[in-house]
Amino acid sequence: MGSAEEDYNFVFKVVLIGESGVGKTNLLSRFTRNEFNHDSRTTIGVEFSTRTILVGDAVVKAQIWDTAGQERYRAITSAYYRGAVGALVVFDITKHQTYDVVDRWLKELYDHAEASIVVMLVGNKTDLAQAREVPMEEAKMFADNNGLLFIETSALDSNNVEEAFETILKEIFHKVQKQKQRSSQSNTVSLAGENPSSTAPAQVERRPCCVAL
């Protein structure tokens, strides 16, 4: 089990962004440790988690950067978007305000990340359906119009959490594969075509011979 964790073909850096209290940390802990905390501690700066999943027959390690949500912190956290190949922009379906500012989060993201980054809009807290303030259709339409993936989740009851991460990781994987076919001579691939090894390994292909299980 220890070694399976380390045998991967790809590392994908994914950032979790969105307003404070929308449930970013819990989405992550649900996905990586199957845990949920009603009062998880405020995230200051950035926290990290990883999980390795199978996409087709490739082993993909998701390296997830969970960032602080407060506006004030954006000056710091936006630097962490660099090298990310995926982003989950999370809002709380019971707080319209957290959805209203998605635009600003996207702008922030595109200002600092590579343009080809795969972005998914995530409406969290579907377990609180009776308090819903953001209609699903509205968010879905917004996502479609802006070329974002879209899903609604509940970190509390686990609904769609796995699907959210799997979907975005698959999408990134396919994008990387296409990119690789186009420029097939390099061993290191990057969505933006630049070397991603600087801040962190973004998506590095390792030991391609070990893919078969």
Binding site: G2, N37, D39, S40, T42, I44, G45, E71, E133, A200
Partner: protein, 525 residues
Amino acid sequence: PPAPLGFTDVNLNSRNTYEVSRRRSAPEHLPHGGTGTAPAEPAPPPQEAAEKARHRLGIAGAGSSFAEFFTRNFFTKRTKELKPAVQSAPGWKLFGKVPPRENLPKDSKIIQQEYEARTGRMYKPPPSSARRKNIEFEPLSTTALILEDRPANLPAKSVEEALRHRQEYDEMVAEAKKREIKEAHKRKKIMRERFKQEENIASAMVIWVNEILPNWEGMRATRRVRELWWQGLPPSVRGKVWSLAVGNELNITPELYEIFLSRAKERWKSFSETGSENDIEDAGASVADREASLELIKLDISRTFPSLYIFQKGGPYHDLLHSVLGAYTCYRPDVGYVQGMSFIAAVLILNLEEADAFIAFANLLNKPCQLAFFRVDHSMMLKYFAAFEVFFEENLPKLFLHFKSYSLTPDIYLIDWIFTLYSKSLPLDLACRVWDVFCRDGEEFLFRTGLGILRLYEDILLQMDFIHIAQFLTKLPEDITSEKLFSCIAAIQMQNSNKKWAQVFASLMKDNKEGDKNHSPAPKT
């Protein structure tokens, strides 16, 4: 590698029925040997924690070494001792059928002593608690039989053999006794130390109350007081000393606090009456920000030390924390509420009365380093990180290069540490000890503590890659002890080619061109 999880099963299943029934028939005797030592068991070494963090907890290692031990000690001994029995098949069967209670009166003691002797021997290198646990499953077994006569259908022991067994047995008992005495000494020593510690705290308290506090200004900088201070402040004077050390440059009075508190309360009232969401779009940005910060305080209070259950809604300190933070946003609208503040206010509330906590809070946040961070003055923060790196390289050059090779910048871990003054990342009692010396030495000690943590875990960190280091440092092991951490902090020299922290920082400040090139993430443009 051998199947890591199978070994306990193998072990249990292969214990013969005789042993199992023996074990069952005298269960009250068995644990003594094993658990008697448990309370004195030292905390697992840091390497183990690191192994956990690396997802490589020695389970596979322990498994394989145990398997090795297993075959070595169990099977070899067995085949040696039971050779005659193995030769005749009935011997095995009969052996399994021996009525368990037959020899009981004598057994219980023998088993215990034998067990202790044996585990004593096996413990010699206790590499990890995982392994130790496994050893408790060790076949109790055949060694205890050494004094027994063989079953009637087997050839009897010769006189020499019986003598030899007697001798071996005596040796085992002697060894067990020796071990017991040693354990007792160890326990006594720990008790003595604990007692001494308590005495120290008590006598330190007397010194603080009777000598130092009445002559604060005259004594605070003396060598004796500084040394006593380093040992940790007695909890009963901690708040008082913090207050005095932080000072009150801002001249805030309890009355002033009440004024800002009532202003905050008015705001909450109008806030809850109008509701926040309806008019957010037409409201000015500053109003929206203010409302957001009120919302945020509410949100964060229950996320501050959630495990203590005292700041959450309905908890005894919930309203207090709300008040202090709310009053602060009215007192310093230019700073407002920034995440991380709730942890600082909470620690102060735990040690001071409400108004004093507010006064200390406002003055603490007014220190240059805290002001730079809570205003998220990025270029200033980068200066602090750069100064930190100067001392990082000086003190831990190997680790410094290791981090560099992964482009792992200090902001990744320092932001959380500095914003909350370690109260989120270290156990609370340890964080308070860091605060003690922070109050004595100022901002420099925050960065020195950071280097102390890096030094404490240097060996582990050197084995890790980017993501594991980042994960490790943003979620430190919970078993970190004050002795270890403070000895590591003490070993950190805050001296760089004769320049102290303040000088290094000042020269970085002068050097305005340099700074945000590649040390840390680029500032927002």
